[in-house]
Each structure stands twice: as structure tokens, then as C-alpha cells.
Subunit: 372 residues, 2 copies
């Protein structure tokens, strides 16, 4: 069975690493020739707008998925005329637009922070009057790793923020005073069976995810149930197949959806070693109509991203339970070059090793402090 994947980044690479042992073969499509995925699989280089490229992909594969949110949704609909595409193209159409995904949440009675769509400076001023300060101004499309966002603290800052993001469809929302950021990786099979991994706490810095840690405290049981209920509503409403990610702000114990992604997610990388089945394998199992694997934790784990500079491999591997994942990318500031998942049998062991790992990665802030 051959799987076509739009996007040849690290998510695609890890999909292939999970799928090859299942007997699958992969063909990637990406506008860039040098990608993390092409080092281990076939790749077609071409623009996502190029129908000939899609034909060429469709001819070579049995099934198509995507690992990148900023693919034109028209490309998916076009591919879907030739080959089954999962997750359903409609999901990408909604989740690549911050306004549409929030509307969907409202429709499904899933709490989201208040927001206003903004296309003009006047609309932004009106939004600020409604929402107050501080607020976040975000592009509706194509934002990632903190790009396409501006924080606005006072009326005088509205115009510069609007100019900086100008010409694009925007959205304004209050700065949410969250206690923490959580995410849920959920998956739905072709038979409608749903499953979800443990809620994961995420820590960002400069808009980029630094570390993720599956919750292990008994107090999280209720939040887990709530989050799974929300995910199930989205999955069933869309007739979704594959992995979906819901990112939450936790405010006063309440979960508000911040955004959703119709794909495997950085905050789920710990599932490779830290769960009974990885998010990558379960995404593929879902798309192929195979039974989903268990999503239970294996031990205690934390995932730390490697950002910007080449890591000291030997120092990382000297930490017992550290699992290194490099993506084959050249170092560049703010770039995700890889990640390390640290796994331990007990929470105490994890705490003892994670400071060592953070030191090896020159990561800050100290994780144990941030978790205590």
C-alpha cells in the first residue's frame, strides 16, 4: 500500500518512519527539493497549486494524507477526485482559518475565547472597543510558531499592528490569562471508533513550543473527559478520519479551544516512546481502516524541542531514557531541528533526568521548576 503525503517536513518523515514497519511505502509532495522526508522516501517536487503534480502523486499512491496545514484546500479536493484523502478536505478548510475553526467550535458548543474578524483598521478599533486590552491580532491563515501574531496593549498600538499584518484576513481576540496550555491528540478510525491520548501540557517561548508533557495527575481525569468530549464532537461532525489536535487554554479550570490542527502535532511527539501506539502510527491505521492501537501512556515522559542550533548528540544520549529525533535540517535561528523524548518508569526518575537533559540542550526555563 502506498501513501501520498502533501508536505515533506518532519511530521511527514515521522509518518514514514512509523509506516515503513507496517509495510507501507510513501511518496511525498513538497515545493522544496530538500526536505526531511525525501531523505528516506520518494518525493515529487512541485507547487501545491499545480494540478499536474497532484495527478503525478495520485498515479503513484493508493491513499493521500497531509502533514502541513497551509496547503490550498483546493489541492485536497482535486486529489480527492482521484484517490481517497484523509482527513476529509473540509477539515483542512476549516482548521486552516482561525475564524472558521472558532465558528465550528461555537456551533458544537465547545468554548472558545471571544473573537472578532478584522479586515480593516476600523473593524480592529471596533473589536478593541468590544474586547478591551491587551488583545492579540492574528492572521486567520498561515500562522505557525508564533508568526502572524501581534500583541496589542493600548489603542496607539492598533495601527502599527494592523500595518505589520496588513492586507491579510485577521482576527482579534483578548490575551487569555491562561494557567497553562494543554493539547489533546485524538484520532478517529474509518469505522467511527475514537481514541485520545492523555492531555498534554505545553510550554511555548517566543511563540515556539519548547516542551510537552503528558499529564499524569489524578486531577486531570475530569479535564480529560471534557477534552475528549469536545474532540469527539469535532470528529463526528466532520466525519473525520485520522489524527486531530485540539489546543486549549486552561483558565480557572475551564478549557477553551485556542486552535485545532487536522494532523499529527508537535505536542504528540512524546507518543513515539511514551505511549503504547504513536500518533503517527494511529493516523495511518485510521486512514487505512485498520484497528486503532491503544493510546495509553508507557511510563512518564517529557518531550523537548531542539531549536535553532545543532545539539551535542553525545551529551543528550548520555542521559538514560533520552530518545533523540533529528529531522535532517540545517541549523537556523528559531528552526525546529529535532526533539528529544525522555522516558522514565517513575515521575521521580523523570524529574531527576530532565534537568540533566535540559542542561544538555541548553534549554530554559528549567523544566522541573516550571512543573513543580
Amino acid at each position: 500500500m502506498r501513501i501520498g503525503v502533501l508536505g515533506g517536513g518532519q511530521l511527514g518523515r515521522m509518518l514514514a518512519l512509523a509506516g515503513v514497519p507496517l509495510g507501507l511505502r510513501f511518496v511525498f509532495e513538497d515545493p522544496a527539493a530538500e526536505t526531511p522526508a525525501q531523505l528516506i522516501a520518494e518525493q515529487i517536487v512541485g507547487a501545491y497549486e499545480d494540478q499536474d503534480v497532484h495527478h503525478s502523486l495520485a498515479e503513484r499512491v493508493d491513499l493521500v494524507t497531509y502533514e502541513f496545514e497551509n496547503v490550498p484546500v483546493a489541492a485536497l479536493y482535486h486529489l480527492a477526485e482521484h484517490r481517497p484523502v484523509f482527513p476529509v478536505p473540509q477539515a483542512l478548510g476549516i482548521m486552516q482559518d482561525r475564524a472558521k475553526e472558532k465558528r465550528l467550535c461555537e456551533q458544537l458548543a465547545i468554548p472558545v475565547p471571544p473573537f472578532r474578524k478584522v479586515e480593516t483598521l476600523d473593524q480592529l478599533r471596533a473589536a478593541a472597543a468590544d474586547l478591551g486590552f491587551p488583545l492579540m491580532l492574528k492572521t486567520r491563515y498561515a500562522g505557525y510558531d508564533g508568526r502572524g501574531q501581534r500583541r496589542v496593549d493600548e489603542p496607539a498600538a492598533l495601527e502599527p499592528a494592523f500595518s505589520a499584518l496588513g492586507g491579510r484576513l485577521l482576527l482579534a481576540e483578548p490575551v487569555v490569562p491562561f494557567a497553562r496550555e494543554l493539547s489533546l491528540i485524538a484520532v478517529r478510525g474509518r469505522d467511527g471508533v475514537c481514541a485520545a491520548y492523555p492531555l498534554t501540557e505545553n510550554h511555548h517561548q517566543d511563540g515556539i513550543l519548547r516542551w510537552s508533557r503528558p499529564l499524569t495527575d489524578a486531577g486531570a481525569v475530569e479535564q480529560q473527559t471534557v477534552a475528549e468530549t469536545y474532540a469527539r464532537r469535532v470528529l463526528e461532525h466532520l466525519g473525520y478520519v485520522g489524527v486531530v489536535t485540539l489546543e486549549f487554554f486552561e483558565v480557572g479550570g475551564v478549557l477553551l479551544v485556542n486552535e485545532m490542527a487536522p494532523r499529527v502535532h508537535n505536542s504528540g511527539h512524546w507518543t513515539i516512546e511514551g505511549a503504547a501506539t504513536s500518533q503517527f502510527e494511529n493516523h495511518l491505521r485510521a486512514g487505512l481502516g485498520w484497528p486503532l492501537g491503544p493510546t495509553t501512556r508507557r511510563g512518564f515522559s517529557v518531550m523537548m524541542n531542539i531549536i535553532g542550533t545543532e545539539p551535542d548528540v553525545a551529551r543528550i544520549l548520555a542521559v538514560p531514557g533520552a530518545h533523540l529525533h533529528l529531522y535532517g535540517k540545517d541549523a537556523r535561528p528559531h528552526r525546529k531541528l529535532g526533539h528529544v523524548t525522555l522516558v522514565a518508569e517513575t515521575a521521580e526518575q523523570l524529574r531527576a533526568q530532565e534537568l540533566r537533559l535540559a542542561a544538555g540542550l541548553a534549554a530554559s526555563p528549567p523544566l522541573a521548576a516550571a512543573t513543580a
Copy 2:
């Protein structure tokens, strides 16, 4: 860092799957164009005797290893003039010859069954007079999966067995009335640090490994110590770097070395999900001079080979904790097409699922029965 690998079989493929996340790239050398490894990595097709092929490999890589025992040892020595080769070529020279590996064991005070070298029918008759019946007649070189072996139960069967294996260097040994077969996967780093995985019980049928299970009983502690002592003697004597496998017959509680392999091994496949670090990753870490990863068990596991016929993938994946590994090979009788490692948190859970898995694989004998 680029790793060259002689042999493009499933062991090479799994080495690459373990090494790609570490940022490594692989180039394989194999006489066959269609191999499990070439589906996910570069491959040079050429005879192991061809020096030009070795030059071409050496030019493309930083370090060379091998995943196949029946490579001419001269190829390794030749490659070693250009690039570091691990494990040391001398190890292959010894372990690809049943007589030399037994001699080495004797030299290092590691118990082996009695044996006689056989080149003529007269020598075979003399060996039978010394060793008695039943005996095994084996080719010294190039035996695997039960090939190159004949059991001889009576004097009249000596000549037919000799003819069947004739023209090759042979070795005769008594049929050892073992209680069980065990193996030890050990590894030595460039810094001389040694580590070993838990002893693994192996069950063969028709000379082919059917299942492997790491020992978990407290009674195995003493045997583990003995086996590790033997492995360390071999590793240190040879100045070995990388993974080595020792296969044992257990007779009356005593471990006798049956054979050794200078490479990762089928009986260590369970380490991918069942140990803190896989045998494949530790082989690479060793060769690269990186710290070895912990070799401790993660939960309880059993590995079952998929032999001869395509498996029912959905049925296998329906068993919770089953991890499928297909090698991308066409089905053919007696051919290892893949394996499944079943992992559980407790021995009871493992027992409950392994019957289901065995049924899914149409494997016999029932494993629980064989273990009880």
C-alpha cells in the same frame, strides 16, 4: 554522518529505521537490487567480492558496519583500509566459521558442546565413534535458518548426510538435549563500556526462529550473570565494538554456547519496543562512539516471526500492544517476512494477548502452553 552497511536485509532496514532519527544517513551494499533496505535508503548493487564496489561505498560513507554474516571477511579488511569498520573484521572471520568460534570459546573458558572438524567421510566416522549418536553434521560456513545441517541418528545415515553437505568444511557435534535455547545480545562501546540485554528464550521450528521472549523470572539472575561474563570475555578479547549475539543451549542449568553472531539478531527484535534502547540503536551508538543507552526491559514482551505467508494485518493490529514489522519482502515458503512484538505492562496481560496474537498469525505451538 553516513553509515555504510554490507547487506541490505531486514536487519539493515531496522538499523536504518533506528539510525535515521539520530540524524544518520545510510548507504547499503548488496548483490541484490531488491532488498528490504533499499526501500528506505541508498543502495549500491554489487558482489561482495568486487573491490570497486567497496571503493564506491567507502567514498560515500564515514563508517562501515555489516548486517550479514556471510560476507567474505576479505571485503571487511579491504574496506577497513579506507574507513573504520565495526565490529572488527576479525570477529566476522571467527564467527562465520563454526569451528573457529568454538575454538575461541574454548580458549576463553566458555563452555561449548564437544565437536569435531570433518572434511572427509573417514573423519566423520571417527567423529561419530567419539561423540556417539545422535549427532548433528553442520557446514562450518554459511549456515542459517537450519540450512546446512543434517541430523544423523545411526551409522548407516553418516554417508548420505556427508554426501548431502559434501564438498564443504563440516563440523560434527552431539545433538544437545537442551532444556531450552537462550540468547544474549551484548554490546561494547568504543570506550570499552559493555552492556547486555536480558537473556532471551528462543523457540525454533524446522530450524527457523519462531518466537523469542526476554526472561523475567528471578531465577534467571544467575544465568544472566554467567552469560554476561562470557560475552564480556569475547568482546574484550576481540576489542569488539557494536552488538554481538551469543546463542546458548541450556542443559541441566548450564549454558553452553551454540553459536555467536557479530551483529544484531532476530532474537533481539523485541528490544525495539520492549527495551529502553533497541539493539539497533545501541549498535549504532557503539560504532559512533556515543554513550550506550540503557538495556533494561520495558514491560513484558514476546516476539513472533512472520514466516512464509503474508499476515492478516488488521487481525494482528487488533491485538492491543502488538507492534507489526514487515520487511517489504515477497512471500515465499520458510521466508522471514516480518515479526510482531507484543508488549504488555504485566506478565498476565501478556499471556492473555499472546494466544490471540498466535491465532492471528496462525502460529504454533501455542505460546502460553510452551511457556507455562
